[in-house]
């Protein structure tokens, strides 16, 4: 007799009745706690919406790889539940990322097509259909990707508030394209260009099961009349994960205390603090008054962490 979803997976080679029950429950829990909107075509989270996401998880793109990861890594029922939940979280994020990449592709094409410094190589020529800098060599780029990534990396990114959240502004995208095509010294297919920009802008494909901390859904600034510093602080806040917002509050504390405050080991806290400091450097590199933005950001993180009703009162170690 099969006792749980993990045993069922090993027995049947796929998700069965028990696995489906756990999967539906995981989908509903992730949607609820990570505050994802329901899938297209659903105005709220109904049982049909849960079913749709669960079925996409099982039959959609990379579902076989997902299943193999679960099978390879899970060793008992508890570990299976933990890995399945991580896979569902990453599936939600992956779906959101695909939407963001689609949006970037449209913005990229608009930037290339509307600017005379870029040109598409005409039919019959070497590199036909690829993009080049106007007047530049049309020879097909076949170099190392590092060259293009390094060129993209040198471009500072200015962020703007779009309806769907902070995003690189038009001038940044134009400059990214210009620098990448210049580094290529030849013609580049749109997919390679998109890939490099996606890497630069943090829109990589997500892992299937591996745990990574991600930002929440972006939070829109409250008022149109905010100062530029407040807008910068809002943009930075939106790019921090829940854990990073907590780490920000203990940025100057010893690693052990920081780890205890956010509930991670000392080593994980050290790595998280390093990444947070580096991330703040990047996110705030264009800020005019950095100390003021940091002060506003600290205030937002505090308000987010303690400003609303805490379901357990104020028992936090950090308070």
């Amino acid at each position: 007799m099969i006792t749980g979803p993990h045993e069922e997976l090993l027995e049947l080679g796929t998700i069965g009745e028990k696995g489906a029950a756990l999967l539906y429950k995981s989908v509903a829990a992730v949607a609820r706690f990570d505050r994802y909107p329901p899938p297209d075509g659903h105005s709220s989270w109904t049982s049909d919406a849960v079913k749709e996401v669960a079925h996409d998880f099982l039959v959609g793109e990379r579902s076989t790889e997902r299943m193999n990861q679960l099978g390879a890594l899970a060793y008992d029922e508890r570990s299976f539940a933990r890995l399945l939940e991580a896979a569902v979280r990453n599936f939600f994020r992956s779906t959101a990322r695909a939407t963001e990449r689609g949006r970037l592709r449209r913005r990229l094409l608009a930037a290339l097509e509307s600017d005379p410094i870029f040109a598409v190589v005409g039919p019959g020529q070497e590199g036909s259909g690829r993009w080049v800098l106007s007047g530049g060599s049309t020879g097909v780029w076949a170099g190392r990707i590092e060259t293009l990534l390094a060129a993209a990396s040198s471009v500072p990114i200015a962020l703007v508030r779009l309806q769907e959240g902070p995003s690189a502004d038009r001038a940044s995208i134009r400059e990214l394209c210009r620098q990448v095509l210049a580094a290529a010294e030849g013609s580049v297919v749109i997919d390679d260009l998109l890939w490099v920009l996606a890497m630069r802008l943090g829109l990589r494909r997500s892992p299937l099961v591996g745990a990574i901390d991600w930002p929440d859904s972006p939070v829109a600034p409250d008022a149109e009349s905010e100062s530029l510093d407040a807008i910068d602080a809002h943009v930075a806040f939106a790019q921090l994960t829940a854990r990073e917002r907590l780490l920000f509050l203990v940025l100057d504390q010893p690693v052990r205390e920081a780890g205890e405050f956010v509930g991670v080991s000392k080593s994980a806290a050290a790595a998280g603090l390093d990444r947070l400091r580096a991330k703040l450097q990047v996110v705030l590199q264009e800020s005019r008054d950095r100390p003021e933005v940091l002060r506003l950001l600290a205030s937002m993180c505090e308000q987010w962490a303690f400003g609303r009703t805490d379901p357990m009162g104020s028992a936090s170690k950090g308070e």
Binding site: S47, E65, G71, L73, R308, A315
Partner: protein, 357 residues
């Protein structure tokens, strides 16, 4: 049942059940204990959406299936560990994949592996699905090479034919140069906000924890206290090796094995040594024989892992406690047979018998 430690947060499904009042008392208390210390989880509960109904779960007809080679590997007997094999490693709550690079007597050099090959960095070999033993692309993180004890090996998932590539990438990594183009690796991590940085950090932490896995140094037990007593090696330190060999009638290898703590002592040999060093033979006999490396290696061998876990599940002990108990029981057996040169001990058989295999 949750049974959550501070550093392992509850699952979201458990938090949902907690919020909805569906947990049993013990599990509810575990979640509450965690919440009292964890601000992140309290915020998650505070900001969660209302209850989402899930209806009647149904597995679709065409749901993805496990690769048949993976299913087969998961049910197979444990092979002798060898370089080039892909293994699942496991210790405590940590589970990870790795390719064995070098198999030593007491530890293994491994390259962490992951099945999200698009997360690879520039010192990570990308194995295409067609070359993978489980039908899924593999990233072999050569830059995160680690040394792990044998007992963290859990299940062998097959062979990955990338040892030559790993050697070339290792060399490039050590020299800090780019990997030659014929080898498929990932793009470098340049951006600070590149999530692969966090992913790689996570893998490094997992392997640091696997490298430190230890069952002999876990909380004190009678066996461990005995093992910590003065060893025969210390007692034999002032003894001239040649004289010892003559007195005991041993050849050179056996003598040095005895001096190095790799050979047990028979009672009559203890008497002779007692006379040689001017110590009561009873003291020599009382000196704990060092754990024979052969026995330790055998208890560490992944071949016994499933039997040890099965026994632990029956007795309620942890796997580490079961290993220590076995060691305590097998040491006297080993000591009684120490002088029997004609029939050397078959440690594997002994350990298998101990676990009823």
């Amino acid at each position: 049942m949750p049974n959550i430690s501070f550093y392992s947060h509850p699952l979201l499904t458990e938090l949902a059940d907690y919020v909805d009042g569906l947990l049993e008392d013990a599990s509810r208390r575990d979640v509450e204990d965690h919440l009292s210390a964890c601000l992140e989880c309290r915020i998650a509960i505070r900001d969660a959406l209302p209850l989402i109904k899930i209806g009647t779960p149904l597995a679709p007809e065409h749901a993805a299936v496990l690769d048949s080679r993976l299913t087969e590997a998961l049910g197979s007997d444990t092979p002798e560990p060898d370089a080039g094999q892909l293994w699942r490693l496991r210790w405590g709550d940590t589970t990870a994949l790795a390719v064995l690079i070098k198999v030593g007597a007491d530890d293994f050099t491994v390259a962490p592996a992951s099945l999200d090959e698009w997360m690879a960095d520039d010192y990570t070999v990308v194995v295409a699905p067609s070359w993978s033993p489980i039908g899924t692309g593999i990233a072999v993180w050569v830059g995160l090479e680690s040394i792990v004890p044998p007992y963290v090996l859990d299940v062998c998932l097959g062979e990955v034919d990338v040892l030559d590539q790993i050697a070339a990438v290792r060399q490039a990594y050590r020299k800090g140069i780019s990997v030659e183009e014929v080898i498929v690796v990932g793009p470098p991590i340049i951006e600070v906000v590149d999530e692969r940085r966090e992913y790689r950090d996570g893998l490094a932490l997992e392997f640091a924890s696997l490298s430190e896995a230890e069952w002999l140094d876990l909380p004190a037990s009678p066996a461990q206290e005995t093992l910590a007593a003065e060893s025969l090696v210390n007692l034999l330190r002032p003894v001239d090796p040649r004289g010892l060999a003559e007195a005991l009638g041993l050849d050179a290898p056996s003598t040095f094995a005895l001096l190095g703590g790799e050979r047990l002592l028979a009672p009559e040999e203890a008497s002779i040594i007692g006379r040689m060093v001017g110590i009561d033979p009873a003291v020599v006999l009382a000196a704990t024989p060092p754990v024979p490396p052969g026995l330790l290696r055998e208890l560490n061998h992944p071949d016994h892992r499933r039997a040890i876990e099965a026994r632990a599940a029956q007795t309620g002990h942890t796997d580490s406690e079961e290993r220590r108990l076995a060691l305590r029981e097998l040491l006297p057996v080993a000591a009684r047979r120490a002088g029997d040169e004609a029939a050397p001990l078959d440690w594997r058989r002994l350990v298998r018998d101990r676990f009823g295999r």
